[in-house]
Amino acid sequence: MALNIECVRKDFPNLSARGRDDKPLIYFDNAATTFKPCQVISQTHNHYCHRTANIHRGVHYLSEVATAEYESARDKVRRFINAKSLSEIIFTKGATESLNLLAQSYGRHFLKPGDEILLSMMEHHANIVPWQMIRDITGCVIKVIPINDKGEIILEEYRRLLSDRTKIVSVVHVSNSLGSVNPVAGMIRDAHAFGAVFVLDSAQGISHEPIDVQSLDVDFCVFSGHKLFGPTGVGVLYGKEDLLELMPPYQGGGDMILSVTFDKTIYNRLPHKFEAGTPNVAGVIGFGTAIDYVNSLGWSDITEYKKELVRYGTGLLQKVEGIRLIGTAANKAPIFSFVLDGIHAHDVGTLIDREGVAIRTGHHCTQPVMKFFGLAATSRASLTFYNTKEELDIFVAALRKVIGVFQ
C-alpha cells in the first residue's frame, strides 16, 4: 500500500509553519534535521508534564516508569537495526558524540603507530576530525578512499587501500552532501577479510535506508535521533558486544559504575558502562516513539516513494539552465546538491528563502568532498517522505526566479 502523503503531512505540525515574509513553507533541509511528528512531540511533552524523574536509581514510582520507558526505547532501537542484544545499544547525544566515543575509546586503546584508518572522500567532518585527533595521539595513519565524478566510492581503489595495516574503516552510509548510497555490505566483507573493524556512519542513512546490523555484520554503527524525526540531543552507538566489552569507558561519572571508592572504581556492565551521568531521558523516550512512527509507515513504502522523489526531482532540476548537479550516484537518496552558473550558493539560499523554500547552502560540513568537486559551496535540497512532487515544482519555479535576479 502506498504512503498516504496527505495523511502523513498532518502528523507534522511544523509543515504548516510559515517561511520568511509569511510565505507558505517548503522545508527541504531534512538532511540537517527532520521535523517531528505530533506523536513524538506529545510523548516528550507527556514525559515533562507527568513522568519527570531520573532513571535507574530511584525506587519511587515515577523513576521506575521513566526507567522502563527509557529502556523500552533502547529495545526499539535494537529491533530497528536488528541488534542481537540490548547491551549493544548505547545512547549518546548524537552521531558526532558516538564517533568521538569510538575514536577516544576504541581508537586510543587499540591503534598503534603505522596502523591505518580508511575514510572515504565524502565523509562529513564528524567522521574525520575525531580520527585525526586520535591519529595525533597514537601515530596511526589516515588514508582516503577516492570517489568518482558521480560521487560514488571507487571500490577497486578501496580494495587496493585495504591491507593488514588497516585497523578501522569508517564510511558514511548515505552522503549528506551528495545523496550517494554507498555499497556498504560488500565493503564490510572486504574490510573483514583484512581483519579491520568497520564503522558505519548512518547519521544520514538512518532515515533513508533500513539497517540490519547482523546481516551486514557491521562492527559499529552510529546515528542521531533528530534526523529520524526524533528530538535533538539523542544519538546511538551500536557496537558488537565483544568489541564494546574490550573498550575502556569514554567518560566517567554516575550510572557507569558499580562501586566507587577513592582507591578503585568498578565499572558497570554494558551498555551503562558508556552512559555516564543523567542521559537525555525525555529525548530518548521521544526517539523511541519516532522509531514506532517510522515502523508504522513501513520501509518498503518509504523507499518506494523516495525513489519517486529522486526520479522526479532529478528530471526537473536537469532542465534548469546553467545548473550542475553535484552527486549523481546510481543509487541515491532524495538529496539534491547543485551549483548554478555564476550564482553563489549563499545568494541562492537567501533569495529562495524569500519564496518560502528552506534549503541548505555551504559546504555541508564536508569540505574535502567540496574541494574534490572544485567548489567552496553548493545549494542542497534534501527531501524526506513528507515532501511532495508539488513542492518540487514550486522549488524549481523559485529557483528560476533566483536565476532571473542575476540576469
Binding site: I343, H346, R354, G362, H363, A376, V405, F406
Partner: protein, 151 residues
Amino acid sequence: MTVHNDELYQQVILEHNKRPKNFLKLDSWTHSAEGYNPLCGDHLNVYLRVSPQGVIEEVSFEGDGCAISKASGSMMTVALKGKTVDQARALFNEFHRLLTKELDPEKDQNILGKLNVFSGIWKYPSRVKCAVLAWRTMKGALDQEKTVATE
C-alpha cells in the same frame, strides 16, 4: 520577484557583483591580508598601497564569494581610494555599526553614503559575515594581520 524597501539584492549590489571594481591583485602594495569566511568557505585577498603620508593610493581585492561579499568588497575599494588610513578606520567602524544595526541611516547622520544600501542585511542576520568579509580583511591588512576569519 517583488522589490521591497528593505531589499538586500538591490540593483547597485547586483551591478557591483556583476562588474566588481578594482577586482585584481595590485602590482605593488604596502598592506595585504587574506580573509576567510569559515561558514561558507569564501575567501578573498585585499591589497592596499598606502603612501608614506598615510593616504590609500590604491586598494583592490580578489577572491571567491557570494554577490553580497563581492559587492561589499567592490564598493569598499571605491569608498576607500584617496582616503587616509584614519578615515578608512572610521569608515570601517561606521560600516560595522550599520551592519550590526547600531546605526540606522534613516535616523543617524553618517559618512557611509552609498554604503547605506547594506542596511538591507538586517533582515538576513546570517549574511552579515558576507558583507563584512572584505572590510574585516582590509582592517586586518592595516593592522598587519596576515589572515582574518569572520567569527
